[in-house]
Symmetry: C2
């Protein structure tokens, strides 16, 4: 960082002091990128209209390293993280908050680029940053830049997503290829060069939720049936798809069976995983959903997903096993089983500790 940005204006402790310099940073840089009538007021809290839908509320901290990576950056990640957590409960985003924790010495041009990306991604997600905070800590007290977003959303009427809704017989669907984000970060961090470098899949999925549950088309569609047919959604970030499947198996007390031959993994991701000793099931995405839905709606859900650009690669990857609740062991904590290409089965354990630090 330092070599590339010699003699550049940098963030100083004084930029976080609550005085004129902080006002200049906020007015000159933050509002230039993120400004909107609500944020521009710079009140202690943003005041928003009442909401007649159920509210969704989420937060995530982003400490990804490096800040800029193939297919995205910490700014895009911070917006998508909040928007996708809202999407996973069937909510469209209403508003975002953004907190910055900045290490003294960060080149202002880096912050500028990150804020530009926050703005572009928020526009893509059709949501605004309405409130925020900026803290500056001394050199060595933080690593460059951390972003923390919170998201407020409106849950689509008639949609009730929860592991408790997952039923034996449900289909398990992935909206796209697995592991892209994690491999993009780790290959860049380890200096690996591939013929076709892996891009992060980071993308905001609020529009996909609207596409599934609340189509605005004036033509009558059968998609409103999806509001009850879809039982649970999760975005497979840290711990990857294996973590999501295990959490849901445990919460719903079911056995989930996935088919190795159905798992959508890019050849370059599979190759990198082979080289680095990772299993793509444990590698994070930042623009995918794992969806549980009623068996009889699975085909139409996959079709509907594929008609959206962010789920064009949607495929069914498995099922919740029927009768699994009868087994005392599974009824206690559930489990995830992989049916391998050669016809065997193996347990997909929940990830234990840290595979990939600072991946998001």
């Amino acid at each position: 960082m330092s070599a590339d940005h010699a003699d550049e204006p940098r963030i100083m402790l004084a930029h976080g002091g609550g005085g004129v310099m902080m006002q200049e940073l906020i007015g000159g840089l933050i509002l230039r990128h993120l400004g909107n009538p609500t944020l521009n007021r710079l009140e202690d809290a943003a005041v928003l209209a009442p909401c007649s839908s159920r509210l969704a509320f989420t937060t995530d901290a982003f400490v990804v390293k490096p800040i800029f990576f193939r297919g995205g950056d910490i700014g895009r990640l911070a917006v998508c993280g909040a928007v996708n957590d809202l999407a996973a409960v069937g909510a469209e985003p209403l508003a975002l908050s953004l907190s910055l924790v900045i290490e003294e010495g960060l080149p202002i041009s880096v912050l500028d680029r990150v804020l530009q990306s926050v703005a572009a991604t928020a526009a893509e997600a059709r949501v605004q940053v309405v409130t925020g905070d900026t803290k500056v800590v001394e050199r060595g007290a933080a690593d460059g830049l951390f972003l923390i977003t919170a998201g407020l959303g409106a849950v689509c009427d008639g949609v009730h997503l929860s592991p408790a809704e997952v039923r034996p017989g449900d289909a398990v669907i992935a909206t796209g290829t697995l592991g892209d984000h994690g491999i993009a970060i780790i290959s860049q961090r380890s200096g690996l060069e591939f013929e076709s470098p892996v891009q992060s899949d980071v993308a905001p999925l609020g529009g996909l939720v609207e596409h599934l549950f609340a189509p605005r088309s004036p033509v009558r569609t059968p998609h409103s049936a999806l509001r009850t047919a879809v039982h649970c959604m999760r975005d497979p970030t840290r711990g990857g798809t294996a973590a999501v499947l295990n959490e849901i198996a445990a919460a719903a007390k079911v056995e989930i069976e996935i088919e190795e031959s159905l798992l959508p993994v890019r050849p370059e991701v599979a190759g990198a995983c082979d080289m680095l000793g990772f299993d793509p099931l444990y590698v994070p995405n930042e623009g995918r959903l794992i969806i549980f839905c009623a068996e009889d709606a699975a085909a139409s859900l996959v079709e509907r997903l594929r008609s959206h650009p962010l789920a064009a690669g949607a495929v069914r990857i498995g099922s919740v096993k029927k009768g699994a609740r009868a087994c005392p062991e599974h009824s206690r904590r559930g489990r995830v089983v992989l049916r391998t290409r050669v016809g065997g089965t193996r347990i997909v354990a929940a990830p234990y500790g840290e595979q990939l630090p600072r991946i998001c």
Copy 2:
């Protein structure tokens, strides 16, 4: 930190990895302190009931050093920061989010103590943490522990607080002594010892807002008149009261005059300020409000404030000058004037840069 906690269990990178160890940290420590039916679901986002009031939304990052200080700690500060930002727009808290950014090696007992304080303060503020996130970064990449809260609130009906509502002739009221929090931190950090050590004023002010605008007493009270008589409130954190007054003077394009003889400053804070070269007007609080209200309601507002334990020391400190809008200079950016004890006046400038790094 390290010497005090030798051989203790510590946070490892694996505690942030999305796997079993993170689940154990969340289930074993975080839910033990903060658990409630919504948070316990551990969904990607919390789902809350619709809200027929206007919504308030805020966020703050906390990087205070030291983590534990006289009168509070980073956990209490993080809850109060969100609750008080909501209070400043006249909102009662509905829900909080909590993000943790933890440096590898933090003793788990420290996290335990901080979470206990978050829980106690949230209970005091009658609000719950309903969603959260935990990130662990490697040694040296963060300084111990950062907390980031977001707050969702319901704005009291009939209350419209904004600098735009401030009028010439309005009274300016402080709800208690100025500068306590900042002096508590800085005296502890600089190793100063006083005969009567200064305690931080950090406290959650949601109950005070309810006391002002929505008394639950079955007896009819005149306090509903305060809903329109109070024009603007701010909590004087970074930059202190001087920053708040200057921001409001600039936004409302008025001249604000405060009286040195009326400023409520504890003798021990005044003494520490003298010794350290600070002006108490620039030193942060974390449990006070600066309130602008209609002149004819000022006396009853002060009386009402004093009947609440968190505003027992409320006093009027000045006025918005009449006719100030007529002056071209003030109508452009406003200003703050201090009438000194000896009868002179001086400008209270907006703070420029950093007086007190990592004060909150």
